[in-house]
């Protein structure tokens, strides 16, 4: 069977319904097939595999699959497709002076990415598209030829909304009150989807509301946010604080953070109502010892490795990130989702600030 046929089968399964063991049996053949495919089609990846001590390409379990450091995508354009098959090149959200990752997508990978994000988000949002507030300014999606990761993230989420309304001003990132008020007059009685990058939501929605003393009320709002906690950690704001201040300023009860990165398309790990990030059927997570890269047991902090069945066009199916995290358990989260769940606690010291929401540069005088 082709890799595509195997991936297609995943969409027939419940996103969070398989036990870790059942899921491993489903995804391991795909992951192994991807290792072989990329070895054949991406010379640089093949060369990396050659210098490993381990000559086997078929791993017996997910933890034995070779992994690349995510940083490699900053220094090298790793592609497994011909240039004519490249649909687009995604770039990460680097700030000035930082190198950005470049990720090559072909048509299949791009379609899988969209489909996967939809499958996962439907679990939390349902199938109906909700009126949607975007906590960002409209310019972020203006240049269609080269989206930033932030723009791409917003567009991806836009599939879940209707009447998309960007509530920040282009020039000063202040709230566009006129727009916001007329949106709320129309929609705030029913369910409303809000999306933004974590730091933008914190600074330009929550703090901005607190400063003006104006409160809005969206009791049926669902906030989805992502992009990294680094800047908030610097301000000593944790997830609990974020949620309680959001609720006080907006009345929003339902909040789902998600963890993901441009280097691994489709791998999004969404927070459940208990604050745990969950691995969907399409991806998995392993926590490694930062000193010797051995697999860490549950409840001990280590480096997060992410595994995904979807990267067909570039060798990004198994990546060691620079994020620190903790495996919290397997198949037994009180929310009922099966598979692994974990938390991300920060970034490896010395790594760059690179989350989508971490790279917004304030204008300096």
């Amino acid at each position: 069977m082709s890799i595509q046929a195997l991936i297609d089968e995943l969409y027939l399964e419940p996103v969070y319904g398989l036990s870790q063991q059942e899921k491993d049996q489903k995804i391991l053949p795909i992951i192994n097939a991807l290792t072989l495919k990329h070895e054949e089609c991406c010379e640089a990846y093949g060369n990396i595999l050659k210098v490993r001590n381990d000559s086997s390409r078929i791993a017996d379990n997910i933890a034995d699959v070779p992994f690349l450091p995510v940083r490699l995508f900053k220094t090298n354009l790793l592609s497994s497709v011909r240039e004519s098959e490249q649909l687009k090149v995604l770039t990460s959200s680097g700030t000035t002076g930082q190198q950005v990752s470049r990720i090559v997508l072909d048509k299949d990978t791009s379609v899988y990415q969209t489909k996967t994000v939809v499958k996962i988000m439907q679990h939390f949002l349902g199938k109906d598209r909700l009126p949607m507030l975007i906590i960002d300014h409209p310019n972020v999606v203006k240049n269609r030829q080269s989206f930033s990761a932030r723009g791409a993230g917003i567009l991806g989420m836009s599939n879940f909304g209707r009447s998309h309304t960007y509530i920040l001003n282009d020039d000063d990132m202040g709230i566009d009150w006129e727009k916001l008020v007329s949106f709320l007059e129309k929609y705030s009685g029913g369910p409303v989807l809000l999306f933004g990058f974590t730091f933008m939501v914190w600074k330009y929605l929550i703090q901005a509301l607190e400063k003006t003393g104006r409160r809005i009320n969206i009791p049926n709002g669902i906030l989805i946010h992502s992009g990294g906690w680094k800047k908030l950690v610097e301000e000593a704001v944790d997830n609990e604080t974020f949620k309680s201040r959001l609720k006080a300023a907006t009345g929003i009860n339902k909040v789902h953070n998600f963890y993901g990165m441009v280097e691994q398309v489709g791998s999004i790990f969404v927070e459940c109502e208990h604050g745990h990030l969950h691995a969907p059927i399409f991806s998995d997570v392993i926590i490694r010892n930062p000193l010797d890269w051995s697999e860490m047991p549950a409840n001990e902090q280590g480096l997060v490795q992410v595994v995904s069945c979807l990267p067909l066009s570039y060798p990004g199916h198994s990546l060691l990130t620079e994020d620190l995290g903790v495996l919290l358990g397997e198949d037994d989260c009180p929310c009922g989702k099966k598979g692994r769940y974990f938390s991300v606690s920060g970034r490896l010291p010395k790594s760059e600030a690179r989350g989508c929401s971490d790279t917004f540069q304030e204008n300096r005088p």
Binding site: S110, K115, V118, D128, R129, V141, F160
Partner: protein, 79 residues
């Protein structure tokens, strides 16, 4: 205007392409005018034109003009 003409008009306006380009075979991402941004405008245009509400599955499945017709048929829009 019949539904075919309405559909062609919605595609042509949302994607900013000539009506002659709107054929059953036209596929998402096959021309630069039909990218993910334009897709959102297209969805909004179809919803307004035919007074329907598409769900997230419909949006993802709408990979060609022909596919759009199939999806609209679910909402009793006949071609």
């Amino acid at each position: 205007m019949n539904n075919n003409e309405l559909l062609t008009g919605a595609f042509s306006e949302a994607l900013v392409i000539d009506k002659s380009q709107v054929t059953n075979e036209l596929q998402y991402n096959s021309i630069k005018e039909w990218d993910s941004v334009a897709h959102m405008s297209l969805v909004a245009a179809l919803e307004e034109t035919f007074d329907i509400m598409l769900d997230t599955d419909d949006i993802i499945d709408m990979s060609s003009v022909l596919k759009a017709k199939e999806i609209l048929a679910k909402y009793d829009v006949k071609f």
